[in-house]
């Protein structure tokens, strides 16, 4: 068994991939956001229900993509319920990588951080009466960085 095999696709990760926490839509969402990584096609949508005190009552995700992007989203949803908006704004990218666990190369870190970025944007994106989110945070909808996909 090689290091990368053991590290990245450990049982805990595959468990979340195959049996995710709160995969689906949340009708009563107060905040929502969706973003993709156009270079590899990973996409994550996050629905949040915040209560009057700014606490996350429920967090759901949906999406499509690699094991890392989907399993990390499941772990994140499981982690954030009960946390306040302020807690989550403090929750850093490095903490997200720690939550995932296995050490990732920079290319795969992007997969892991997709759900974290969507969550950060969702906190600023209240859902309108028509069910559409405001998308105030266009700037972080799409993100660059090193990619497996550039270069011929």
């Amino acid at each position: 068994m090689s290091p990368s095999e053991q590290d990245i696709y450990e049982e805990h990760v595959l468990d979340h991939y195959e049996d995710p926490y709160h995969r689906g839509a949340l009708e009563a969402a107060t905040h929502a956001h969706e973003a993709d990584n156009p270079l590899c096609g990973d996409v994550i949508h996050v629905d949040l229900k915040l209560d009057a005190d700014g606490k996350v009552q429920e967090a759901w995700f949906s999406g499509d993509g690699c094991v890392i992007s989907q399993a990390s989203a499941s772990m994140l949803m499981e982690k954030i319920e009960g946390k306040t908006v302020e807690d989550l704004k403090q929750f850093s990218a490095n903490e997200m990588l720690d939550l995932f666990g296995p050490k990732l190369t920079p290319n795969r870190q992007k997969c892991c951080l997709l759900s974290w970025r969507v969550l950060q944007a969702a906190l600023h994106s209240p859902v309108n009466h028509d069910g559409k989110s405001d998308d105030e945070s266009e700037a972080i909808r799409r993100f660059g960085g090193p990619s497996l996909s550039e270069e011929a």
Binding site: S2, S4, E5, H16, C40, G41, C66, E151, A152
Partner: protein
Amino acid sequence: MDYRNDFPILGRNSASGAPLAYLDNAASTQRPRAVIDAMSECYEQYYSNVHRGIHTLSEASTDAYEKARHTTTDFINASSTREVIFTAGTTAAINTVARTWGDANVGPGDCVLLTIAEHHANIVPWHQLAERTGCRVEFLPLSDDFTIDEAVVLEHLQRLKPKMFAFTAASNTLGTEFPIANWTKLAHEHGATVLVDAAQAVPHRVIDVQSLDVDFLVFSGHKVCGPTGIGVLYGKEALLNAMPAFLGGGGMIQRVTTSGFESAALPDKFEAGTPPIVEAIGLATALRYLSDVGLDAIQAYEHQLCVYADTQLRQIDGVRIIGPTADKKGGIVSFVIDGVHAHDVSQWLDTRGIAVRAGHHCTMPLHHSLGITASSRASFYFYNTLDEAQRLVDAVREVREKFAPSGRRRRRVAN
């Protein structure tokens, strides 16, 4: 065919400790010792700028640089060294044509015809031309068997009357080899100028620009066992002469005054600034090396590897080949695996020492047209082995098992 010992890097292992099986040759090839040595020799013994100094080193470097142009001219059978321009690569070469020939010859309402299988390097420069001139860019669609019928090409040429027909000689994703000579003849009969992106063809088979009668043909050094940072723009002399210069600077001028400049003659006209000198010397060494191995032998050998990998992978349940059968393509086998993302495929294969490409391979419109966002691609070269093709097939089988739904359950945490 065993040339592995000529390539120092092929002896190493991947990060997992498994022996390297380098199957990412469509992205970039590796270099034989001869190329590495030729470039070191230049740096250590006779390097200087070219076409400038009147001293020993400059004479030697200039001589080697221009000999490299002769070697390249012979390799593609251009009729003159004036038709062979050294650029930074395929991308730079296509941009040069779009910026100069394009700006001078294409206007509002004109059409540039491409195939849907083009690499971004042969799409974006034409989109940019459209932004500048108001021309439109049209795409030939693929048939279900990942080829394009001649009747479809003919219909588009008749209906759209394109000024430029720019197409890849071989798709970097599908592997499909398009009939350069036939399409060029048809295009000329309908008044179109032809540019062929031969980045995936020149490394693998004999390309003779005169018998193909193409107007422009481009390829990259790093895909023919040469260095990065160099590519070739071939153009018919009359066309190149009629085109305005592109990048301005030293080397591309006859004279400069405070009120203007006069362009140099071909090929210098399109080589502004200090050119890729050592890269040209490395490229020429690579082309001589490939000629010694023999392009016909390379093509035949790669075909064997492709037939094996393509046939075996097609037999694996849940694996879909993105591309035609082996008889219609070069040594490229792209595939998707049901329920497994290309990144995960690539990551797993890396644990077995196998390097493949994962993603859209710079062909987003093609992937979109096929309804997928990413695929995995194995691409062979003459230094690969049947054993490596077998390892690929075995590892893909493992991927199927590893990521197949198994009824596993996440550990529940108390909230």
